[in-house]
C-alpha cells in the first residue's frame, strides 16, 4: 500500500523527467560574433565622428563623409535581422533585441542626416553609451545562452 502511494506520487515526476525543458532559444555563434564586430566598427566610427564635432570645421562631420560605414552597417543589420527572423517562437527575446538595435541605428542615422553641429561640451557620448548598451545587452544574453541546458 505504502509503495503504491509512493509510486503514485513519483509518477508525474518520472514522466516529466523524460524530457528536458526549453524556455528560450539556444546560443547563436554567428549572431554573437557579428554583433561583437558591429560593436567594434561602431566605436571606431563614433571616435572619428566625435573628433569632427569637436573641431571648428562645420563640414567634416557631414553624413556623406561617412557613407562607407553606414553602407556596411545597413548590410550587417539586414544580415542579423534575416538570421533571427527564421528562428522559432522561443527566440522572441533575441528577435526583439535585434529589432531594438536596428531601431536605435535608424534613430542615429536620421539624426546624423539631419546634421550634427560642432558643439563644445557635447560630444554625443550619451548616444554612444546607448548604442553600446544595446550591443552589450545582446552579447550578455548570448553569453548566457551558451550555458543553455547545462548548469554553470
Amino acid at each position: 500500500m505504502k509503495n503504491r502511494i509512493v509510486v503514485a506520487l513519483l509518477m508525474p515526476l518520472l514522466l516529466v523527467a523524460c524530457f528536458t525543458v526549453k524556455f528560450i532559444t539556444g546560443y547563436d555563434e554567428v549572431l554573437d560574433q557579428t554583433v561583437n564586430r558591429m560593436k567594434t566598427d561602431f566605436n571606431v566610427h563614433f571616435i572619428k565622428l566625435a573628433r569632427t564635432i569637436q573641431d571648428s570645421d562645420p563640414n567634416n562631420q557631414k553624413f556623406e563623409n561617412f557613407l562607407d560605414y553606414y553602407d556596411h552597417l545597413q548590410a550587417d543589420l539586414i544580415t542579423i535581422k534575416a538570421r533571427t527572423s527564421v528562428l522559432d517562437g522561443k527566440a522572441k527575446i533575441v528577435k526583439d533585441q535585434v529589432e531594438k538595435l536596428d531601431s536605435s541605428f535608424q534613430v542615429f542615422i536620421t539624426m546624423h542626416k539631419r546634421g550634427i553641429p560642432d558643439r563644445q561640451g557635447d560630444d554625443h557620448h550619451t548616444d554612444q553609451n546607448a548604442i553600446n548598451s544595446s550591443f552589450d545587452a545582446i552579447i550578455i544574453l548570448q553569453e548566457s545562452l551558451k550555458t543553455t541546458g547545462k548548469p554553470n
Partner: protein, 121 residues
C-alpha cells in the same frame, strides 16, 4: 531479463539526497546568474540616469532643441528596453538550467535505484 521490483527500487531512492542536490544546484545556478547580472544591470541603470540628466541639462541650457532631445532620449529608451530584455532572457536561461539540472539529478537517482535510463539529453 531480470524482473525489477519497482516498489523496492523506489524505496532505494535517496529522496533526501535528491532534494539537497537539487537545492544546491538551484542555489548555485541562481547565484551565478545574479553575480553576472548585478554589475551589468547596476552599470546600465546608473549610466541611463546620468545620461538622461546630461541631456536634460543640454535642453535646459538651450544647447539642443526639442527634436534633438526627443531623438536622443529615444536612443536611451531603446537601450534600456534592450537591457531589460537581456535580464528577462537570462532569467529564463537560469530557470531552464535549474529545471533541466533537477531532471538530471532525478534521472541519475532513478537509474541507480531501478536501473532504468530516462531519456534526458
Amino acid at each position: 531479463m531480470p524482473s525489477i521490483d519497482i516498489g523496492k527500487g523506489l524505496q532505494a531512492l535517496d529522496y533526501k539526497k535528491i532534494l539537497s542536490d537539487s537545492i544546491a544546484l538551484a542555489k548555485n545556478e541562481a547565484g551565478s546568474s545574479f553575480n553576472k547580472l548585478k554589475p551589468f544591470a547596476e552599470h546600465q541603470f546608473q549610466q541611463f540616469a546620468e545620461d538622461a540628466l546630461f541631456l536634460a541639462n543640454l535642453k535646459l541650457k538651450k544647447t539642443i532643441d526639442d527634436e534633438e532631445l526627443k531623438s536622443r532620449i529615444q536612443l536611451q529608451k531603446l537601450a534600456l528596453q534592450n537591457v531589460l530584455l537581456a535580464i528577462k532572457g537570462i532569467g529564463l536561461v537560469t530557470a531552464q538550467n535549474i529545471v533541466n539540472g533537477v531532471l538530471a539529478i532525478v534521472a541519475t537517482a532513478v537509474k541507480g535505484a531501478i536501473k532504468v535510463a530516462l531519456p534526458i539529453s
